[in-house]
Symmetry: none
Subunit: 228 residues, 4 copies
Amino acid sequence: MARIRTAPRKSPTQQRSRATVDAIVDATARVLVRDGYDALSTNRVAKEAGVSVGSLYQYFPGKEALVAAVMEQHASRMQENIAERMKNAPPAATPEDVATEMIRAMLAAQQAEPRLHRVLVEQVPRIGALRRLHELFGNYELLVEAWLLENSERIEVQDARMAAFVLVAAVEGLVNRATLDRPDLVASGRLEEQILRLVLAYVVPSHVAQASADGRYGGRKRKGPAGG
Amino acid sequence: MARIRTAPRKSPTQQRSRATVDAIVDATARVLVRDGYDALSTNRVAKEAGVSVGSLYQYFPGKEALVAAVMEQHASRMQENIAERMKNAPPAATPEDVATEMIRAMLAAQQAEPRLHRVLVEQVPRIGALRRLHELFGNYELLVEAWLLENSERIEVQDARMAAFVLVAAVEGLVNRATLDRPDLVASGRLEEQILRLVLAYVVPSHVAQASADGRYGGRKRKGPAGG
Amino acid sequence: MARIRTAPRKSPTQQRSRATVDAIVDATARVLVRDGYDALSTNRVAKEAGVSVGSLYQYFPGKEALVAAVMEQHASRMQENIAERMKNAPPAATPEDVATEMIRAMLAAQQAEPRLHRVLVEQVPRIGALRRLHELFGNYELLVEAWLLENSERIEVQDARMAAFVLVAAVEGLVNRATLDRPDLVASGRLEEQILRLVLAYVVPSHVAQASADGRYGGRKRKGPAGG
Amino acid sequence: MARIRTAPRKSPTQQRSRATVDAIVDATARVLVRDGYDALSTNRVAKEAGVSVGSLYQYFPGKEALVAAVMEQHASRMQENIAERMKNAPPAATPEDVATEMIRAMLAAQQAEPRLHRVLVEQVPRIGALRRLHELFGNYELLVEAWLLENSERIEVQDARMAAFVLVAAVEGLVNRATLDRPDLVASGRLEEQILRLVLAYVVPSHVAQASADGRYGGRKRKGPAGG
DNA sequence: CATGAATGAGCATTCATTCAT
DNA sequence: TATGAATGAATGCTCATTCAT
């Protein structure tokens, strides 16, 4: 597993070059979705982009770099989506509201370009390109940690940093698996519900205990009061 | 992305060929760990195994079949480990004990050959080869579902099947991420602790609410009752 | 085009060996018809014959030898057919009858195993194996020459040997082409008619002139005598 | 025996690539003559042409396509030769003259590159590649048919189309055999004489009857009229 | 800067052939 | 003799990459 260059060769300064690079990245995404990672080749991408191979190599050192660029673009857009969403969200009264909003944003971001997202998650881990996505989730960890600290009075965890890691990792895995194997759960909104339960139960079990007893989060209705 | 044959070509009957096949599978695992999935080629594996390409093709129709065989072996060993472990475990008094044991088994299984496991999970494209691993996780889901149903009195979930999916997926993701990025958590046992909290909080929030108040599962010690 | 060994390695003396060899030759013919010359391989023939490759190599040095053996067998059978036919034929009164009988025998021989014959003629010329078939036609030349000499009084050719060559070569080419491209002509019997015309016109044009005028051999009926 | 692509991949536009393609086709012909069809491989041709395999594959999808290109070139040249010859021929007074000219053209065309011609006819399997040659002979059949119809008054055949097939097939076989086994006949001109006799006797037996009696076409001189 | 022809290392795969059992 | 596992040279073919135009 030799280290692979994924950085672009040079940044296009002129406008024409910018257009070329965009065409190449878009073409890469298209080929990725249509033919998969294995069938992707520099020549094919060049043809798809309507550009000569030589031009492609002027900006990208190889196949990996192409995919990395797509990944970068995709991650950026997801990030933008999320930021946008959280900015526009109504002021959250409770921690539960905040969590809900974050989870929704995360799911929505993945649904934006689902086919591309799926290919990237499924086929691209082989090269280091997922790092970018992990960074994104790293950002998440910071957000979550902040959220935990802000609500520290009600939160029943000791190590906020670790808790953030646990939550983000678990949710990331869950979302990816669901995207691949249980799209029905995603579509129906039940996944969102369950993630919320998972997260809140982890950070404020007593709250969920109550809520679950009330029938929220898909918990069973019970007679007596929970806990004890 | 055409369908790919992953089934072995013929089963070796003689002793000599049995050895050949073993050598090939072992070499495949080695190459996979050392060079990664993309760099794996039939010729390279044959050379690594000290066997001619022809012999390799006598038993495996191609690269995918090689990886599938490794996957099969790895999954079988994991399964054996888990079965062994659960057989030898002391009789579990509480559901908590059962969960603890299952999580420990899962972690232990993944730690057995962590580098190979990582490659298999990270790099093997979602072809038929991964099916075996999915089966394994599918088995897990069934185990978990059974556990949930057995303890249905104390369990506060409605849809056991979905809950099992959620739990296995979340834990899988968490374990994988931790294996890669936070081996310290794995080694220190804190990961196990947190997984337990995550799982139990999800299925019996009321219990965790209490336990967390008591300082177990890394929850903060508090005076009064939680929630509000 | 290196010289290729086509001779069998050793003659089977024992009965068991004889059976093995037969099985191999028959399997070769079958594979030849079913899969064609290019797809024929020693391993495949061995499997088809229910014999191990090793055994095959005990009797045949390679692919070419297999095909040569099939060719030999096929040619022998054709020869036998022809001999049989001519022996049983009613005593021929006229040269025309003899020619007719020879041509019929030749055509009949080719129709015996048409699919094998076709493969041999179409695909096998590449190796020297057609030599055997040419020998067969060489025999024909001798037969034809003899026939010409026997009927020298009525025959209007000077060089019987050359005439025999011309006739056999022309008829061979015609029959082969017709077998491949115009099987309808073969089936309808018109080919036979035309070959007869071609042959007789060449050797006794005056006879055919008359016959043609009478409407035989597919000639046009005319009033007055032809030519001038 | 699956369908095989024999069409070239792309037409070279630049001058450089035109040269490459030419080099490849010429090398193919050379290898064909030197080593035979079975020993011809893309790599060998590339080496012979002093070109990389990659370049070869840029223009030809495989072995068959290479041979098809050679075949095409050869057939074209033959056709040109024939056309040229017939254009320059003195106006033919009699059908006999026309036939003579056609046979001479055919013989001459085959003698142009006899070794290549032999390989093509003998060894190239009856794939699409031979189609081109069939076309050529098909053209011949049309020419002959036209000739027969033009001279229908003197011609003693009913079905001109079938007669054309018979003649071309017979003459083709005869010429091929003679080229291989009796070059002396070709060189001395006796073959031409005999083909003429064969053809004319078939189509106008009465004429040949007379001519043969006069000693033309290698017929024996006789006193009285032949036949009876 | 753009082009695309040319390169050739490298991979998948087959198959004639040998030889220990 | 028979077996069939093992061999490895040879083939078809792709594709990342370069470079003259």
